[in-house]
């Protein structure tokens, strides 16, 4: 039977944990809102890039032969990029990515090609390392608040690996943000970039809800004045060469942003249930403490009564 002091010590330590998890929950909630806003902020840019690409494709005489559009003849090495967080304590957020990624890795390897691992976030890199898998390149230090330049770094490293022939295909795993309570593992193939993706944008936010009017004026301009009146600096073909890698960068940036929002959502949920559990435990311990105190009082009373009885 624990003494009154033991129970009190436990109560104070559980209360501390409760305070910490509450604070983490609130921080995650605030960051989640910011992360969601940043996903929204990316849409107009992605949309504008998509429209510009359509215009350049329309003006170009032919779609240039870009290395990132070309499929490699044989698939010997498949790159898999896992997008995780730098920190844990976020429920299944990190582990579900690593699990899905390594499962896919085994699938790929059973077909012959070897897998080249890439990781964004310390957790992904360390878990892969722990499992004895070699990580070709890892990127970390930004998962709380990724910048576009982080996405550009990742994209260009991977594009370089693809065009220099170090990988023949690139797949990505990340947590797609559905809601604070719900994150789903998304699996996409980034390289080679599909021509179709370049032509119609291939963006899931491609639906023109806001761009209707703008489109009309643009088209009117384009048709009335004819394409020849447009000035292209440099040629449309050259512009396309710059635009194509941007699609990969934007895809990766979106994945990073979604992953960040998911991480905060997952952490918020995990910390909320931790706080709930701590409250429950506190109630139980308080009851236990009261019972213990009552038992001690009863014990003392019994001793006094017994002593008085004996003196009679």
């Amino acid at each position: 039977m624990p003494s009154q002091k033991d129970v009190k010590d436990r109560i104070s330590s559980v209360r501390n944990v409760h305070q910490i998890t509450r604070a983490m929950e609130m921080v995650a909630a605030a960051r989640l809102r910011k992360a969601q806003k940043r996903i929204e902020a990316l849409r107009p840019y992605a949309e504008a890039i998509r429209k510009m690409t359509r215009r350049a494709v329309g003006a170009a005489e032919s779609i240039p032969n870009l290395p990132i559009l070309e499929e490699h003849d044989s698939i010997d090495r498949v790159g898999i990029l896992l997008v995780t967080g730098d920190r844990g304590l976020a429920g299944p957020f990190n582990s579900q990515i690593v699990r899905a990624g390594t499962r896919r890795g085994r699938e790929v390897e059973s077909d012959g090609p070897s897998v080249v691992w890439y990781a964004s976030g310390k957790r992904g890199a360390s878990t892969l390392g722990f499992r004895g898998l070699e990580v070709a390149a890892s990127f970390s230090g930004f998962t709380d608040r990724p910048q576009y330049s982080d996405a550009r770094d990742i994209a260009q490293t991977l594009i370089a690996a693809y065009t220099d022939g170090n990988i023949d295909r690139l797949e990505i795993f990340y947590n797609g943000f559905v809601s604070a309570l719900n994150q789903e593992v998304r699996h996409e193939t980034l390289l080679p970039l599909q021509q179709a993706q370049l032509l119609d944008g291939g963006d899931d936010d491609a639906d023109d809800e806001d761009g209707g009017d703008e489109d009309a004026t643009e088209d009117a301009e384009g048709h009335d004045q004819g394409r020849s009146l447009w000035i292209y600096e440099p040629d449309p073909e050259e512009i396309l060469k710059r635009l194509a890698p941007d699609f990969v960068e934007i895809s990766i940036y979106r994945a990073l942003l979604e992953s960040t929002a998911s991480e905060h959502g997952a952490r918020m949920t995990a910390m909320r249930s931790a706080s709930d559990n701590a409250s429950e435990l506190l109630d139980d311990l308080q009851l236990e403490a009261n019972r213990q105190r009552q038992a001690d009082i009863t014990q003392e009373l019994l001793e006094i009564v017994a002593g008085a009885e004996a003196l009679r």
């Binding site: 215009r55 220099d164 301009e221 000035i231």
Partner: protein, 137 residues
Amino acid sequence: MARTKFPVEVLTPDGEVFSDEIEMLSTRTAMGSIGVLANHAPLLATLDPCELRLFTGDGDPVKFAQGEGYLQVIANQALVLVEEAIDPSDLDTSDLDSKLSEAQDRVESSEEDTEERRRAERDVRRWEAFKEVAGGS
């Protein structure tokens, strides 16, 4: 004499950083420096890292350190799409120095005519341009 104004929007992946009517826009395309006034012909251009200047008509121009991007002029409206548009006073010279030397190391260590080399060279150009912007403000 006051010039005719035209609307300009500057968009980055992190949202809109500027949207207003201005007199002149000055930046650098892949072909060289360019100034855009109102009623410019339709234009589509790729932009290189440099200082983006937006002359609002009163006082000093609004300046940004611009990363790679695109400039589109349609129907007397300019749209600047850039990967980064940073207020010059927010640039950190020592940070840029370390990024620049890191990129230069990568140029040294990478092999000729690889994507890796081209990428490092692009990075060098960007950080050099940003350093210039930071120094000039």
